[in-house]
């Protein structure tokens, strides 16, 4: 078993079989993080570079821990401390890093398509850790793993994705993956946050949160990007929160076994109320735990696939 491509750029490129293989492997990798000695020698001697040119706590730490638990050497580079701050282009930075022979480059960049461009340039594997408002495949995979652990089968599940759909790479990656797996997605939010013609992606649209969650299995809440508050997507934070914030009152409309996930970081009291966030339906911290396992699986499967083609 291995992945067909050399890179993980988006959920658009992965087949149903590959997604299931990744989730199955991640399920097995989870156990390593439960051990007292949380390390296996599988990627001993391999080098992984995390190039994070946008702020990140969870994802960067998760990739770093994943690499280290597989015994790879992991190097972290952030935008402000790198030569990019001196004016070097991303392509030159990538070429220079490749000259030091890393096996995987994990890239987070504000430009949609940046990892795709780099992947064409490099022999190393590239993992997209978020490119602008485009894709964030490892997040979608950890969301799916978290859902699968609680619902047995993914096929046929109904999912509501709530928030700023237009600017969300998490929404896009999840929509693509969930379509591939035969899940039914409804996007929910104010019209200003829902792209026109999104139905063409195979989702339905709902503007009323309480109506949207009536018969769903999963509610995926997106972070409201406070920095966009100026851009007239909504008139006030309070109005957004009143209409689209998930509170225990609104949650009463949803089935009693509904799952709530959120990619983090959470604006407590804005898109989700604190009691719901810490309540029994919330799997937010399980997602973080699963993130490490998913990224271990990706690194392991990628490096295996890579070597096979080089043999």
């Amino acid at each position: 078993m291995s992945l067909k491509g050399k890179d993980i750029l988006g959920m658009r490129d992965l087949t149903e079989e590959e997604i299931v293989d990744i989730l199955d492997s991640a399920d097995s990798f989870k156990e390593i993080s439960e051990r007292e000695i949380k390390k296996v020698p599988a990627l001993r001697g391999r080098t992984i570079i995390n190039l994070f040119l946008e702020p990140s706590t969870r994802t960067r730490t998760s990739f770093e821990i994943a690499g280290k638990r597989l015994s790879a050497d992991v190097i972290n580079i952030s935008g402000s401390g790198s030569s990019l701050a001196k004016g070097e282009t991303l392509m030159d930075t990538a070429r220079n890093l490749e000259a030091m022979r890393p096996d995987i480059l994990v890239l987070r960049h504000s430009g949609p398509g940046a990892p795709h461009m780099i992947a064409k340039l490099l022999k190393s594997s590239v993992i997209n850790a978020g490119d602008g408002a485009h894709e964030h495949p490892s997040q979608a995979l950890l969301d799916l793993l978290t859902i699968r652990q609680n619902k047995k089968e993914l096929k046929g599940l109904k999912v509501a994705i709530v928030g700023d759909i237009s600017h969300s790479r998490v929404a896009r990656s999840n929509i693509l993956a969930m379509n591939t797996l035969g899940m039914k997605v409804t996007v929910v939010g104010p019209p200003t946050m829902i792209p026109v013609e999104i139905e063409k992606l195979g989702v339905s649209v709902e503007y009323n949160l309480e109506r949207a969650i009536r018969d769903v299995d999963v509610i995926l809440m997106l972070r409201i990007q406070l920095e966009r508050q100026e851009s007239l997507l909504f008139s006030s934070l309070r109005e957004y929160s009143n209409l689209y914030g998930l509170t225990s009152e609104k949650l009463k409309k949803a089935p009693s076994d509904v799952l709530i996930i959120h990619p983090g970081p959470v604006n407590r009291g804005v898109e989700i109320s604190p009691d719901v966030m810490d309540g029994p339906h919330s799997l937010i911290l399980d997602q973080v735990t699963n993130g490490v396992a998913v990224r271990m699986a990706l690194m392991y499967l990628l490096l295996g696939a890579n070597l096979e083609t080089n043999n």
């Binding site: 078993m1 291995s2 293989d21 199955d24 492997s25 399920d27 097995s28 990798f29 156990e31 390593i32 051990r35 007292e36 000695i37 390390k39 296996v40 020698p41 599988a42 990627l43 597989l70 699986a297 392991y300 499967l301 490096l303 295996g304 696939a305 890579n306 070597l307 096979e308 043999n311």
Partner: protein, 178 residues
């Protein structure tokens, strides 16, 4: 055509004998645990646990070990084995471990398994039980309990079949495998 080395009755007798030998060598079941190497080592471990339970009326703790991540040929194998779960829900520190596998060949699997076990604690000792020892060791590893020693040539394929996965209990050998 594959020829049969052990039929189901012979295989069962060999496992019974190994169960007795384990108890004899360890003076009973104190601190004794079984760890089966996935996939077919697990069935040997299960059989041994049941036999030992019948003899001593104690059920030993049993762990399952997937050695995929400890292999020395990651990326070299033509087909990547699917990673399965390692399940060792107890500490291995100060335990006497009987590691179980179906066939002992180069010894590399056992090397990987020993590395894996060490990540779960510091056992008092590790012993090795196998159904077939076919020789051709590439590492200084020897079994403590053997169902049957069989001289083979390197390109033969020895296959231990278990009812649980293969529908029958049997050990077969294929000449000059593909």
């Amino acid at each position: 055509m594959p020829s049969t080395l052990l039929n189901s009755q012979e295989m069962n007798r060999a496992i019974s004998r190994i169960a007795h030998e384990i108890l004899e060598k360890n003076h009973g079941t104190e601190n004794l645990v079984l760890v089966g190497i996935r996939t077919r080592g697990v069935y040997l471990a299960e059989r041994l646990r049941d036999k030992i339970a019948a003899i001593e009326s104690t059920t030993l703790e049993m762990g399952l070990l997937d050695i995929t991540l400890y292999r020395d040929d990651v990326g070299q194998a033509a087909q990547k084995p699917i990673l399965k779960k390692t399940e060792i829900p107890f500490s291995l520190s100060d335990k006497k471990i009987v590691l179980c596998d179906d066939v002992l060949f180069t010894g590399r699997t056992i090397r990987a398994a020993i590395d894996g076990i060490m990540d779960f604690g510091r056992p008092a000792c590790v012993q090795l039980a196998v159904i077939i020892d076919r020789g051709h060791r590439e590492l200084p590893i020897r079994p403590d309990f053997v169902g049957k020693n069989i001289p083979t040539s390197r390109d033969m394929m020895v296959k231990v079949k278990f009812k649980e996965v293969d529908g029958e209990d049997k050990v077969v050998v294929h000449e000059g495998a593909s």
